[in-house]
Each structure stands twice: as C-alpha cells, then as structure tokens.
Symmetry: C2
C-alpha cells in the first residue's frame, strides 16, 4: 500500500508541475476518494488547492470528506464562495454536520452562508442533538416508500430519486405521518415479483433507535442485527434519519479508542496523535497524573505509620514494590475484563454477584499459585543471592500478604467498575490506575498487619 501511494504522489507532482492537468484529472478519476485525500494532504500547500479544483464535483465532495480537518481548513480558505457552495451542496448531510463541528467559528459562518436554505435547516436540526447521540451522527437522506407501492413502482421511485440518497440498500416503508412501518431491502425488491406491494414484502417490527440514544447503543444494535443502516426516530416515533454502517465502523473504532484512553488515565481526544500539539497532550494527561499522585499520599501515610516496625525487619521494604505491582496487575486484569464486558454488553449490572463469585474463585487460584511460586523463589533464590536475612517466617509473611492482596485486588477490581456503572459514571475510568492506587494502600495494610502479628514487630 505504502509504495503505491508514494508512486502516485510523485506522478501527481510531476503532472502538476508540467501543467498536464487533463491527464491528472483522468488519473484522479480512477482512484478512490480516500486515496486522493491522502495524496493531496501530503502535497505542498501551494499546489494542493489547484489540484483539488481539477476534481469533478461529486468526487471533489467525496475527497474533501476524507481529509483531516487542518487540510479541510486550508482548502476552504482557498475556495471562492461558489466553490465552497458546490462542495457543500454535494456533501451528505452527516458529513456536512461533521465539517461544521470541526471548523472554527468564522469558517462555520461562511459555510452556513453558502449552504442553501434547506441544507442549512437540516444542519441546524442535527446540530441540536447532543454530542455522541444517535441524532448527531445520522444522515437525513434515506429512501422512503409507501406500503401500497409495488416492487416495480418502488424500483422506479428509487431510480428517479435515489441518486442523492446515501444508501439505497435498505428502504423504509412509512405511513403518511412518517411512522416507520417496516423495512425492505433492495435485494428483496429486485428478487420479488414486480407486482407485490411493499407492505407484503417488508419486514415489519422494524428495529430503530431514538435521536437521543447513545451512538454506541446504535452501533451495538447494528452489530447485533447485522444491519447496514439503522433507522433513527424522534420522540413522536417519526423516522428522521438513518445511521449508515460505514459511520458505525468509525464510531466503533472511536469508542474503543476512547475507552482505551480512559483506562490509561488519559482524557480522550478525537485528533490523531501526530496532529495533537504537545500542550494539548499535556492537558489530557496531567490532571489524572496529579490526582493519582495526590492519592498516593495514603500509601505514604501507611508506610510512615509503620516506619519503626519496618526498621526492625528492613528486608520487608525490598518486597513492597513487587507486592504492590502484583496487586495492581491482578486488580487491573479483573477491572479491564469487566469494563470491556460492560461496554460490549456481555455483562449487565444484574450479573454483579455472579462476577464477584467468579473473580473470588479466580483470585484464590491466582493468589495460591503466586504465593507458592514466590515462597520457592524467596527461599531458594533470593535468600542465597540477594538477601540472607530472609527467614521462613519472613517469607511466610510476604507470601500470605501476597495471597490476600491478590484476592482483595481482584474483588476491588471487579466491583468498582460495576459500582461506577450503577452510579451512571463511565466504568472505564475505574481501570488500572485507580484500582492500583486503592490496592496499594490495602496491600500495605495487609502486609503490615501480618508482619506485626507473625513477626511480632510493633509500630
């Protein structure tokens, strides 16, 4: 893939420099919009708008949509009002809305001025839906049929009006009040007897989402029912748009990236890494680091409290980091599993006791294996090569603390994300870093409690 793009880029540049615009135009018409966008984005800023202008209207709009927002901005600045209008009129509604959302305010005014009244009205309509709702990602262009139409009439209707619709693979049968009666695929229409009515051909009981529902819910539904487009209805149950499967793929990727960022204690950003400024990256990371650093005060308090006890068995200090890391890793294994399960609907809140019981048994197995392995390592390897002070009671203390730490960590790790969900918070925030901070304190308390009772040392 890589090389092909580079060769094309070279060819583009050469043709542009030699002013062979007709050949360049012909070449571009054989390429996919995503490829043209990638090549143009890497071109020098002076050449790029000139080459873009060579594209025929529809291909220009499709290519424009595939570009990163900084390239879009450069292009819009170079557009005349007529050019801007041409591109916007050719764009699908959901893409136009995306454009408005990512441009700075002065650009937005210019874009809205150029859009025709009807487009402007629809854009404003969609902009009213809150971020990440189904309404905000839908397109208002879909094929609507009436129940009385025959398959033949329906196909003719699509032929007459379908060119502008984003997808015609699934058509929607609506009553006169725009209520969704059912769906019929183009496949069914083509394979049907031409005289059959849409009502007899359609699948009734159509599945839909509300405009206010979460976009993630919409994608989960499309995945569950294998739809290539999902109808969106308003509060009065009137159909207002569809979400298409290509957007569903993007949304799924975006939501997974967001979850992963949150799990690593980062405020999610929808910009690609290389396009994000150092300051923005810092802003997304530092609040969490500060918060977690300050929660670290509690581990400090515990250790200070037991400082004199620790001075009597200094060898314990050497095992604090290992103990805490093992606790943190055990806890985040559980929390991340549960968070992912909740987010792909494999788990529900009602499973909480089922989950805790399962994690409890897993933690006993993990804790036992780790303690035994650790005991062997301490007595055979560490005592000989690292620290001759390791006695059987010391090793036993460390291993028992390890066992309880793992059990506590797994239970905390599986419970907190479910509590967060119950409290309508995002479970993803309850991932490794928070679990680690809590488990750290608990594991130190366990270690010192066991040390004072087994090794008879007192603070």
């Amino acid at each position: 893939m890589k090389e092909r793009t580079e060769i094309l880029e070279e060819t583009f540049r050469k043709l542009a420099e030699e002013k062979k615009y007709a050949s360049l135009r012909d070449l571009m018409q054989t390429l996919y919009p995503a490829d043209i966008a990638a090549i143009l984005s890497d071109m020098p800023e002076k050449l790029m708008p000139a080459i873009f202008r060579l594209l025929p209207k529809d291909l220009a709009a499709e290519t424009f949509v595939e570009m990163e927002s900084d390239v879009k901005e450069t292009l819009i600045r170079s557009f005349s009002d007529t050019e801007l209008k041409a591109v916007i009129d050719e764009m699908y509604m959901d893409d136009a809305v995306d454009l408005i959302e990512e441009m700075p305010a002065n650009m937005v005014r210019r874009i809205l001025t150029q859009a025709d009244a009807d487009t402007r009205k629809q854009i404003n309509e969609i902009l009213k839906y809150k971020d990440d709702s189904a309404g905000s990602v839908m397109t208002t262009e879909f094929v609507a049929l009436t129940p009385e139409m025959t398959a033949e009439e329906a196909i003719n209707h699509i032929r007459r009006t379908g060119v502008d619709k984003e997808t015609i693979n699934t058509c929607y049968v609506l009553d006169e009040k725009y209520h969704l009666l059912g769906t019929v695929t183009i496949r069914t229409l083509i394979l049907a007897n031409p005289q059959d009515t849409c009502e007899s051909l359609m699948t009734a009981n159509a599945i839909s989402v509300g405009t206010q529902d979460d976009q993630e819910t919409a994608v989960q539904m499309m995945s569950k029912y294998d739809f290539t487009s999902l109808p969106v209805v308003d509060a009065e149950n009137r159909m207002v748009g569809i979400i298409t499967v290509d957007d569903a793929l993007d949304i799924m990727e975006e939501e997974a990236s967001e979850d992963i960022a949150k799990m690593a204690a980062i405020t999610p950003s929808d910009k690609p890494y290389l396009k994000t400024s150092v300051f923005e990256i810092w802003k997304n990371r530092i609040p969490w680091l500060l918060l977690l650093m300050i929660s670290g005060t509690f581990t400090g308090i515990v250790i200070s409290r037991f400082e004199s006890a620790l001075a009597l068995v200094p060898v314990l200090t050497a095992y604090i980091p290992m103990m805490m890391d093992t606790g943190g890793n055990s806890g985040s294994q559980a929390s991340v599993t549960i968070i992912r399960g909740l987010s792909i609907n494999d788990l529900e809140l009602k499973d909480v006791f089922h989950v805790m019981w399962k994690e409890f048994r897993v933690s006993i197995l993990c804790g036992a294996a780790l303690s035994l392995a650790n005991f062997a390592k301490l007595m055979v390897f560490d005592r000989r090569f690292i620290n001759p002070d390791i006695t059987v009671p010391v090793a036993a203390t460390i291993c028992m603390a390890m066992f309880f730490t793992v059990v506590i960590a797994k239970l905390v790790g599986c419970t907190l994300p479910m509590l967060a969900k119950k409290a309508h918070l995002d479970p993803a925030v309850m991932a490794s870093p928070f679990i680690t901070t809590i488990v750290d304190v608990l594991s130190l308390l366990v270690l010192f409690t066991l040390a004072t009772s087994i090794l008879k040392i007192y603070a």
Copy 2:
C-alpha cells in the same frame, strides 16, 4: 430492550406449554434471528429444541448462527441427521466455517458428514487459511458478473441466482480467469440505462485483500474506503470470496477486545466472560502475573542494595510507592497512546523520532508540573501532618527524582511498543504492566542516585 425480551420469553413459554405451536411459529416469524436466539438460549433445555424445530428452514439457520456455542452444541445433539443437514445447507459459508471451528472434534465429523460434497469442499478450503487471516473470515458466496453483461442482464442474472448470495449490494466483474476487473453496486445497476455494459458502469482499480492478509488489515480497508463488502483474492490474484461489513463490525470489536486484554496482561479469549470457566480465566491470567512478579525481583535487588542508605533517611521509603505509581502511570499513558495509534494505523514505524521528540516535550511539562505540585504538598501538608523529618533537601531529592522518572517513563513508554512492532511482536503486549516493571527499577535507581549525591548518604 430488556423488558421486551422478558415479555417475549414469558409468551414463548406459555404458548409452548399450552402446545399452541402454530401461534408460536407465527410470533417467531415476526422477530429478528438475534432476538429469537437470545430468547431460546434462556429457555429450559427440554423446551428449547422443540421450539427451535418450529422455525421455517431459513429462519432456523439464521437463528442458529446467532447462538452461543454451548447452545449450538445442545441443539446439534438433539438434531436428527436430516435436521442437521437442513440447517447446514441453509447456512452461509463463513458461518458454517465458524461453527466447525467452535465445535468439538466428534461434532465436527458429524457436521461434515451431513454437509453436501460441495459445501464440504468449500469448508475445507476456508479451514486451510490460518486463524485471523482474511481467508478464514470470508464467505465464498458473492455475485460475479462478466464485463459484457448489460445492466438489465446483470439485474436479471442477480434475480435468477442472487437468492443464495450473502450480499448483492456490490457485484464483482470478473474475466474468464476469475481475475477481478472492477466492482459495480446494485445501486449503479438500477440507476443506469438498462443497455449500459457492466464494463462501462464498473469502478475499475478495485481494492482487494489477499487470503493470507490479516483480518485487521481487511477491516481497516473497509473502514477507510467505506465498503460494505471487500473482495478477497488468492495468490494468483483470482477472486475467491468477500468479507461482509457485518463480519467487519464483529472483527473490529473482537480485535479491540483482544488489544485491551493484552494491554492488561491477559491472554485474550473469544468467549464471553460469563461463559468462561474459572480455570480458563485463571489460565489466561496467571502466566503474566508470574512473569511480572518474577521481574519484580529487580526492584527488590535495587532496594536491598541501598538498604543501609535508606536506613539513614527512612522518610524516603514512604515515597517509594508514590514515585513508582506516578512513573508507571506516566509510562502507560505514553505506551497505550502509541499502541492504539499503531493499531488503527494513525502511526507508522517511520514516525518513531517524531513520537519520541513529542513525548520528550510532553514529559518535561508533566514532570515539571508534578514535581512542583509535589514539592508544595511535601513542604506544606506532609511535613506538618505526616512526617516532620521532611527537610528541603529531602523534598528536593524526591521531586527531582519524580521529574526524571516521568521523563524516563514517557520515553520508555513510547519507544518499547515501536520496538516491538519493528521486531514483528504485538505492540499491545508492551503496555502498562511491562512498562511499569521496567520504570519501577529505573525510578528507584534515579531516586537512590540522587539521594546519595544530594543527601550525602552512602550504601
């Protein structure tokens, strides 16, 4: 959604118990396969196969595909050979292959015996492709057209043969040796002049993947080009199948779940959590915990080495956990960002220096903010309430160590995943737990080096 399923389940049970099979059958025909599968899976094992038998052939196959593998197994055990054959013959090729892959060996033999010779041949063909390759997830059923066909002929051809094809939205124009010449959508065919030839209507330069390519590559391509199906070609460039967008959604979800599991040091499993046994969960988690625990030996060695120095300034011990956690969190922020960027193709190997330079600047900002905040906290809060031994040199040592730890953590965190990719290993394995283990050792070394030179204490 929840309540609706429960009401339906209640109705199913009642109708089955009252032996009102005709009404039950009518009711099921108004539902989606995914819903029927969910309801049947929750039914008592005795009732379930009887209700399943009421489904008409095609709906039965579609419902069967949507079930979890343990329910499928129960059903197959209850099927007569004729029933099994009917379900398999109705299934799409990719679903049949999935079934074979998830069933135990004795079931597989029974299934392959019941499949007709042609189906068996195609299943075996697909099974040869390695796991997670494009070949292993494709279906062999697609609409092939010749370049000379007119739009009208093409539509008639689809009408005659299309019923069995998994998707007819995109058709493929092949030459007599099965080489892919181009694609034409059903939309284009319907909207075209009926006398236009496929050759003139098709988009040439078709994008395809090879059977041996990674399924993730295929999904990234579908997302990039907004395809609803992607052609798969063999080593001789002959078209052998397609990947459909509903499978792409599943693959994307599965790949994100796998990455998330690996980042949390878990061996990924494709079974839902509640269906995975305690022992299997343990097996997926314990090797990593053991490995990480044993790598923890190095932190122990560093602390043991500096034990006597630490005894002179015992207050430092209380800050070791906070230092290590902050280092771990800083490092995993960087590593997780880079891992995700690599996996969604936002980043490439050639960006390595760009990334390091960016992370270096971010780490300076993060390190500075954290050290300053920590210095203020140490002098104002901790000295007064927790530990009166904190002097300015001690606080300065801790904060300088914090600064360097953050810088080192971010650099290690961004570099290791890229090195892993370069070495053809999975970057996701280089996430938080490994970074934390490495950063722990480095941060302790930094702390003790600074402590010995600033506080003049020696091991």
